[in-house]
Each structure stands twice: as C-alpha cells, then as structure tokens.
Symmetry: D2
Subunit: 361 residues, 4 copies
C-alpha cells in the first residue's frame, strides 16, 4: 500500500487554501507516490474521523477557486472542544488524546496543518506530544511574524482597493464622507496597505488609537481646499484613543459581530461633530471569499510544495515561510511567538503619512 | 456667438452618467457646433447659477469613469426646495419661477435632464411651464416604464453578481446562510436579475412579500439534500408578508437608512427559527459607484446622442428610450406614469422559480 | 422509468453555454421530473453515441464557468460529416440517418440544440425529418435575426472593452496607434458595440468596407488637435473598399487564421502611408472564454428554462428568443433565415459617428 | 522661490508609474514645500526642455491610472541620441553635455529617474558626471537585482493569469493546445510566476532553452491520462535548445516584433510533430497597460516617497528598493550590475516542476 500524508485547513477560510491543497496533492502524488488524505473541517475532522481521499483528479480547477474544499469549523480548538452530552448540555473537553489515537490509526507520514496563529499553536502542541505535523501560514490579516506574506492577505487587499475605487466616485459625486470598514481585529495590515494603494484620506487601524479631533480636522482641511469628500478606511479593531466616544457603541455583542461596529461608531462620532454627510460600508466577508489573486495562487502553490518537502525531510514542527521571495522553513515556535503588528513609526506608516493620509494620531 | 445647450444630472449618481455627458458634449460640438453648459448639482445649480463650460477636452477619459462630474444634490425638488433663512431656519419653497428666469438668462436651445422618475417629473412640470427640456432615463433600479433599460442598472447587477461569487465560497466553506442585501426600495429588478445570474437560492423583493416559513423551509430542503449553505439576496425594500417578524426592527430610522435593515431583519428572523449560522452583507453604495460595464457605457453614449437630437428636432418633453435595441423617443409622461415593477407571475420570476430559486411566496 | 430529454452544444464555445445546460437540468428535473442526457461534442456525440447523464449535482457551480462541459467538435455538420475509412482516407458522408436511429434509441421527449446559425440550420433539417428538436441561440457574434441578444455576445463585448481600457494607457504614454483586432467575420456587432463602449477612435467592420485614406485622415485630424495616439478596433472580417491594399496580405491561410490578419493588414497600410508608430493586438480566443458576465448568465438561464418548456409544450422546430426583455418562442426558420448585420445607416452606427468615431466610409 | 525637484519616466510604460509620480508630488509638496517639475518623455524632455509643473491638483485620481502622464520616448539614450540634421539625415550623438546644461538651468535639488536597467544605467552615468539623480526601479520584467519587486511586474502577472483563466475554458471545450505568449525577452519571471499561478501545463522561458520533444511528450502524457487539452505559457524570449526548429521562423524582423514570434514558432513545431489542434494568443501590450493592481499601487507609492527622501538626504546615485517588505536604499551600481534571472534550479522553478509543470528541459 502506498504511503500517505494528510492535510487539514483550520480557522476562517481565505483565498488560496484550495491552491495549497492542490499543490500538496500534486507534489505528493507525482514526486513521492504518496496518497493524500483530506481531513474535513479542521481538527474537528480528526476527532470525528471525517476524511476524504484526494487524488490529482479531485484538484483539477481548484487553484482558482476560493474557500476550502475541506471545509472549516468553529470547533477549532482540540484542547478545549465543545462536546454535546446525552442530556443536551455542552461541555468543553480536551480531546487531544482521541485525536492522537485517530492520527495513529491513519498512519500518516505527516500531517499538513494550514492555518493562522490559532491553528498553528494547536499544531505545535500536537508536535510536542509526538505528532508529525508541519504548517502552512494562512490568514488574511498577514500578522504572522514568521513569514513576509500569508496566503489570502493580498487578495483581501485587492478586494478592498477595488471596492474603494467604486465607492470613490459616489463619494465625490455626492460630496460625502465614505467610511469603509475592513477586516483586522488586532493587526492593521489590510487597512493600511489598502489605504495606501487606494489613495484613502484617513486610515484608522488597531495599532494606532485614533484622536477623533484629528480625523475631523483632516476633513476640514480637505474642505478648506475645496475638496468636499473624503474616503476613510477603518479596521474593525480600530478604537478611539481614550475611548472618548465609546459611549456611541450600542446593542448586543452578537449584532456588533455581525455588522461590524467600528465604522458605525466612527460615523456617529463624525456626525456628532460636523454637518458632513457620512455613509458607511462594511466589506465583511467580501474580503475573504472568491478567486484568489495571482499573488496568492503562486504563494499557495509554493507553500504547498514546501510543506510536502518538510514531511519528506522529517522537519516536523516547522512551517513553510516566505523570506525575501524564497520559501524557507521556520519553526512553528517562531510562527506563533508573537503577532506581527504594524509599527506606527515604521516605513509603511511613514509612507502613508508622507502622501497625506491621516492615521489619527 | 455659438448656440448652446445645457445638461444636468439629478438624483443619486450611478455608473454611466459621465458617459451621457461625454456623448452630449461630443455630438453637440462636432455635429452642430453647439457649446454645452454643465449645470452643477442637478436643479440646485439652476437655482444657484452654478455652471461649468463643457468642451471636448473636458470629457476625455470620462466614459469609463463612474459618478457624475457635474455632481448631484439632496436639494433635488425645485418645487419644494429648502431655503435657509437669515435667522437660520429652513423653509421649503417653490423656486421654479427663479429657475425659469435663470434658464431664460442662459438662452439655451434646450436642456438635457438626466435622472430617474423624480428628476423626470420635475422636468415634465418645467416643460409644461414652457421650458425646453428633454430627458435621459437613469436609475440603477431599472424601474422606468418607458425604456427597456435605464443607465446604471446593468453595472449594479454585475457588481452584485461578482460579490455573490466571492461570498459563495465562504458560505460553502463555513456552511453558513449568507444574506446579501441589495438596492431596490420599490422595484426588485436588481435583486431578481442578480439572483438569477448569481445562482442564489432565495431571492426576496418588494413586489413579493415573503413568508418566512417558506424561506426557512428552503434552507431545510437544501440541508436535507446534504447542502449545508445557502445564498439569499434580499432587496432593501423587501418585507415579510403580514409583518409577522417586523418586531425585530430596532433602532432609529437614520441608523436603518445607513446600514440597511431588510437583511438584518431577515437574519434575526432566521436565527429565531433555526440553528443555522447566518451572516449579512449590505452591498450598499458599491452598487452605484465605479466604472460602468460595457453595456452601460454603450447605452449612455446612445442616450446622450439621442438627447442632443431631440433638442435639434425640437422634441421637448421627450426622453430617449431603449426599445428592442434601438433608441427611440418617448414622452416624459410615459416615462413617469408608473413604476415598472417585477411581475410576480411574469417570465423572469417564473424562470427564477424554474431553476429552484425560492421567492418567498 | 423517468422520461428524459437531451441537450447538445454545437459550434464554437462561448460564455453562457454551461448556464443553459444548468438551467435545463434544474428545470427538467425539478419541475417535470425528467432525466437529462448530455450529448458530447455536438452532433458528433449523436453519431458516436457519446452521452453523459446530467443531474442537479453535476451542474453545481456551473453557472459561472465558461466553455461547455459537453464539449464541442469540428465535425459539426451531420449532413456532410468526415468519416475516416479503413484505408486512412477521409470521406464526407451524410450521417443523418444514423443520427436519427440513435435518437430513436434514446427515446427522448425532445432534444435541445444550443448553437449558432450553423447548428440551428442542421437542427431545422432534423426537425423536417421528424426529430423533436428545439433550439437556444448562441453566438458571440449576435448575428441571429430571431433574437435581440444571443448568449455570449455581451461577455465578448465586456472583454474587448476591458482590454481596450488597458491598451489605451499604453497607446497614450507612447503616442501610438493601437489596433485591436476583434471577432466578427461577417457581422460587426462586437466591434461596433465595443468601439462605442470603449471610446475607440476608429472602428472598422465587415458591413462597411473601409477607405484607408479616411482612416489615415482621422489620425491626422487627431494629431492636428495635439492628440498623438489613437485606438482602432477592427473586426477580423473588415476589408478595405476596392481591395486597394489587399496586396499587403502575405503568408498562407493557416497562419492568417491563427493570428488573424485584418489588423496586421491595416497596420501595414497605415505604415505605408504615415510615420506613426503602430502596434497590433489580436484578442482572439480571449473573447470567447472565461466566466460569463451577469447579463449572459441571466440570459442563459432564461433560455434554458424556455427550451424545456418548448419541449413540454411540443413546440418542436422553435427556438427561445429574447424579445424586448421577455423570452418568447420563434421558429427555427426565422432564426436562420438571414444574418442580422449592422445597418451602416442605423441608429447604432449613427451614434458612433455622432461621438466622433470614424467608421471608414 | 520654493526649491524644486524633478521627475522623469524612462523606457516602456507600465502600471504604477503614475503612482510614483503622485507620491513624489504629494510628499515633496506636503512634507518639504518643494515644487515638482515633470520632465516629458524621459531624457528626451531634458534635451528638448519639455517640462510640466506638477502640483497636488494635477495628481488627483492618478494612482489608479495606468501608463505615465509624463510620456515616454524611443529616444531613450542621451549618450547615443538620434538627431535629425537639416538635410534630413539622422545622426547618433552624445547629448549628455546639453542635458547637464539644461539640468543646471532647472536648478533642481535632485532629479528622480524612474526606469528599468537602461534608464538606470544612463542615470548612473549622469551621477558620475555630477548630476543629482536618484532612481526608482520599474520594469514589468522584474529583472533588477537590487530589489525584490519592480513596479509593474505584479500587474503583468495578474493580467496574464486572468487571460489564462479565460482561455482555459475554451481550450478545454475544444480539446486544444493553447499557447499564450507573454513578455520577457531575457528574464522569465512573468512567464514562470504566471504559469505557476494559472496552473499552466508547460512553461517555457529564456533561461531554460526547451527541448521540443519533452514539450510534446508532456502533451502525450496528458492525452494518455484522458486529458485532451493543454495550456502553454511561453515567454517571447524563449528559444528551443540547439535551435532545432529555428527554421520555422519566417518573415521580416519588424513583423516578428509586432506580433511576437516565439509562440508561433512553437505552434509550428508542435504541429509538425502532432495532430493536436493548436491556437496561439499573443498578450502583448495588454500586460503593460491599464490600472495597476493594489500591490503595484502600494509599491509605487512607497518608492515615490523614498525617492523624495533620498534627495532630502543627498543620497544621489541611489535607488529605492524593496528588501523583505521594507523600502531601503541601494546604489544604482547594484541595481544595474546584472540582470536578475530565473534560476533553473531555484526554489520557484522546483515548485513549478513539483506541481507537474513541464519546463522544457
């Protein structure tokens, strides 16, 4: 019987996951003669033993397709896993031992874990428990220290910029302030990168708590020059400095989660201080779906190939990473040690300020 | 001195307005030797005498650009126009006489009024008062009886379909119900057309008050076949039949206006009845901005050319209209007599049902 | 056993064919409980008895996918069909009797033939021989008299306009004449529609043999106004009036077919008369591939639904057609009687001239 | 009078040049109070003293626009510059002294030279002659050693991948070999990167002379697996090993230059060896025009900002470069020392082979 390896995709989906899966299947099959087991819905599939055989025929046309054919799950943490008891109650349990048993039954040469910092930290714990896992860094937030780019980030940026291009003409025709809320709870890479690329006038990100008066001044300065519209990009995790208008946050958490909130809060704050007409657009899931851009398709393919090689070389506990245009191996430790955040005084933030973008502080 | 004509764009902006302006300027200038006066911000510019000279150099590269270079205004109705008094109060006045005086000063061969049913009805009243106006039908809602297609509609549909393509992969990967709220307060053309083109599973429009139980049944049927995600397109004006879950609407009107409401209301209703995970995306202004699709650029150009010819022929009180792929003249009366709504038993709705789309009733 | 119907796609592929197939399968299955047999590679599959069972699972995600999942064939004409003899020679034979036998074996309620005027005329002959066929009009050329729009045309126009948008900036930066060769051997709909939508400066189509001196004059006039670049769209079937520079055509026919020729010929003629720098781009197959635009996806769906209903109603020998935004039935006779060509004096051509486009005569 | 700096764009245009210009103008104006002189048509404008004043109003909406508002020129080399003599003859002269004089008249704090290796090497020579120049690396070929990415490359890759997505469905429907010829005379970065991202089956680049028999074997292997179509990406500079089918090149050089040739030559070679149907598409200028992708807009902005800072710091003879996601300064020497070529044994080429792409050797 042929040797085999496995692959799972954890956390939220993003463009490029299918490209990783495809590259893993093709390289394993063509170069090593390995079969590939797809684990459904992240670590949940390891617990539930939900698998699908993957061969080259299954991955045709997959490179251009968004999402993940393996599915994802909210039950992402195998060390704190919700189990429904016979009486209907849900208990949080550590199911890692069961997962290790199931892994042993699969008898894999190695398991490729595609995910962000959460998924990767669970992978690391399994490696410490003896599992043969390697990783591929994926998150649209691009906030993993180990790699220059994570799969999915660049597509999110392209989607945001395309949306702002569309919104700009309306903002201008109607002389409005247009607030575009983008993803980024902790890291502002999407917001800042897209803001620079789209020519936004104000960009607010989690790393730089914003002074609402500076933001309003930016609008006034533009109006003073006869320009009566402005584009604001705000990351969902951006907050005002000192929380001075935090009182504007109303409603329950679920609703906030569903519709965002940072953009709406900012809109309320601006309207409390000015007469400008304000509109808010929450891009939400548009940023994480759909066909990946070429950059992410290429990166996904190279990551997938590298992940197979990490298994072939027995480099468990390592992840594929992009280092100055070359894919290299880094340790999972390094990948999850700390979030890569925007440096408010770094080159990108300074470039943004240099072209006149108000960062709110 | 050369003879001259004028043009204004009223109501909300939409893709293709600049294409109309460009065609008017080129045809007037090249074929008739007429100058063209652009009136800023719709009828407001006629009241304020805010004009801009338009010549062929000004319209270079304009065809592909969204929005309207002439601007638009909230003070759209010259027969009920908000005037700020010296004491700060705002009074609603009929300023049509002043506008007719200003028009007389301009001494135009004719004025082209680009707009939806509101703008067109004001134009009709001015024509009845002796003004030399002709019209071009524009609205992303496509709800003007006089014409097969209004400028802007097809671009809105393309934007919605592209967005649904992106959202579908996420809905599928995460096994969610994804609600996409689109424009359409009274007419469901965007929602139904985009729903058919995007392969949505449920489409809810103003013309068909929806039965929430039928909607939920559609999800159950899909799950029963092992398909654990669904795409819903809901027009902003869609309402439940009998208003049975209208109680879910909270918050003040302004907020509703800013973030939509139909989608959120539906999400609440679904979550009150099922365990499915639901997410809502409000496309909002994305639908009315940005570069027009080829269809709208072509249509805009042909409308602009026809409008100039209506003036040349003295056909005031007429609008350019598309009739089976040919541009013809119709009376403004005909254009505004009644809204063109989706026929719940018509061919398009039947086609939607035929491919399995649940229309909610 | 369930009743069943069949479907085949003939002629060149184009965006939207898969949308027709999907709609047919869904409507037949959901509304009538019919099975659907897909015939592979047009009429060839009827001769070879190459079939595939189509059910709703097979058509998931098909709406957005270009091409045809059923394949197409060069052996398109069953009344003059190339058969390879045992000695290797190829003989052209009438295989219609064999096809009628195979059809009888299939025992279909009806067969849906999706194609252009060639495919439709073969369908008509089979109907006259007693076969139960109905049609769906498809051709990127939009040259079928029976319908306002054929499936695939609008996508081709969108692709051309997007390409011209890209090419325009280079033409302008480098002060060049840029010739874009587009499809259209007999009908100039793609060229003229895309030319109007893209703001081209010269558009040359088969219906209007062009005077090279007029074309060159157009460049001179632009240069005289200080504009040192021009965009030319030329249909592959456009020819010079009187054939005065036909001598410029060199090389064998195969090469011409592969790389086009109309654009290159025009480039040679311009360079023989001026010092302007000229570049040619042949868009070729880009125009007929890839994801269909929303317009074609909607149209494909409505056509597919109507085709099933034509079978249900026993209206054999009819095709689905778009008539002022409503899908109706027309006879195949009407569909193939004559090509729908651009009227050089019609409204679209006049609109093109009105905005300054040189049509070459 | 305000101090001022200058900027010129040399060589072929590419997406992102306008973004560099915009960033330079905004940063110079906002941060230093400097005026900016735009030099028209590369070094030609310095010779002809063709300048345009650039201020923030001039660069509005420029970020998303392809090409270069400053124009480009074929008279790119000031050290071997074609001068038309009074008698009509053209003489090649060194006009560097005149250019240095004109530069002295301009009295700039520094001149930003945006270009590829040619433009940069002229800049270096002027710096050696005492001119205050700094550089920004731009070329769609991405073949400058000094930087991870040049402006314009990623957009070219995105355009190629989008085109291949479109062409793939036709190749598949018609069971054809589809050859896509892309840019790259010396470096195969566009071809290889796009090939990996698009899932091409064969990729041929200048760095790896191809063995036609290996290429044909790749098609046979695919057909042997029942897959009857293939996508080939070939760089314009790719050549067969040993030149065994070079005889297939016909026609004069001008024609080759205009329509490419590598793709056609390959098509002839395949058709001489197989019965497969082959089609060739030459993407040509599509790759260097149109709106830049977000990646290039961001990069262009950061490069423009850095270039202004290089002048402020007096770092003449340096270029802005991307080094692991951060913009740094490198010497012009380093930028032009040697072309950055694809390493046939490097990680990217190995990744391509790992997913089954035939590289021809």
């Amino acid at each position: 019987m042929a040797k085999r390896i496995g692959i799972l995709t954890g956390g939220g989906d993003c463009p490029g996951l299918n490209g990783v899966i495809r590259a893993v299947v093709l390289h394993a099959h063509n170069s090593y003669g390995w079969d590939v087991v797809g684990v459904r819905n992240g670590f949940e599939g390891l617990y539930e033993e939900a698998y699908v055989e993957l061969d080259p025929r299954r991955v045709v046309h997959l490179l251009a397709r968004g999402g993940t054919m393996l599915g994802s799950s909210n039950r992402a943490n195998p060390f704190a896993y919700p189990i429904q008891l016979p009486d209907g109650r849900v208990e949080i349990m550590d199911v890692s031992a069961r997962i290790l048993q199931n892994l042993a039954k699969l008898d894999l040469e190695g398991l490729i874990v595609v995910g962000g910092d959460g998924t990767m930290s669970f992978g690391k714990r399994f490696v410490d428990l003896g599992a043969k896992m390697v990783g591929v860094p994926k998150t649209i937030d691009n906030d993993l220290e180990a790699t220059d780019y994570t799969v999915g980030f660049q597509t999110a940026v392209e989607v945001v910029v395309e949306a702002v291009d569309r919104l700009q003409t309306t903002a201008e025709s109607h002389e409005r302030i247009l607030i575009v809320e983008v993803m980024g709870r902790y890291a502002g890479w999407i917001g800042l990168t897209a803001g620079v690329a789209a020519g936004a006038h104000v960009v607010l990100i989690p790393e730089i708590p914003y002074d609402i008066d500076r933001v309003v001044d930016a609008f006034h300065r533009r109006h003073g020059r006869g320009v009566s519209y402005s584009i604001v990009i705000i990351a969902e995790g951006a907050t005002p400095a000192g929380g001075d208008h935090a009182v504007a946050v109303k409603g329950d958490a679920t609703r906030q989660d569903r519709l965002g909130g940072a953009g709406e809060r900012l809109a309320d704050a601006i309207q409390a201080r000015t007469d400008y007409e304000v509109r808010t657009v929450v891009l939400g899931h548009l940023q994480r779906g759909g066909t990946p851009c070429a950059f992410d398709r290429e990166l996904a393919t190279r990551y997938g190939v590298k992940a197979v090689e990490l298994i072939a070389e027995g480099q468990f506990g390592h992840v594929a990473a992009l280092d100055r245009n070359v894919i290299v191996a880094k340790t999972m430790d390094k990948a999850i040690k700390k979030l890569k955040l925007v440096d408010p005084a770094g080159e990108l933030a300074r470039a943004a300020r240099a072209v006149g973008i108000e960062l709110g502080a």
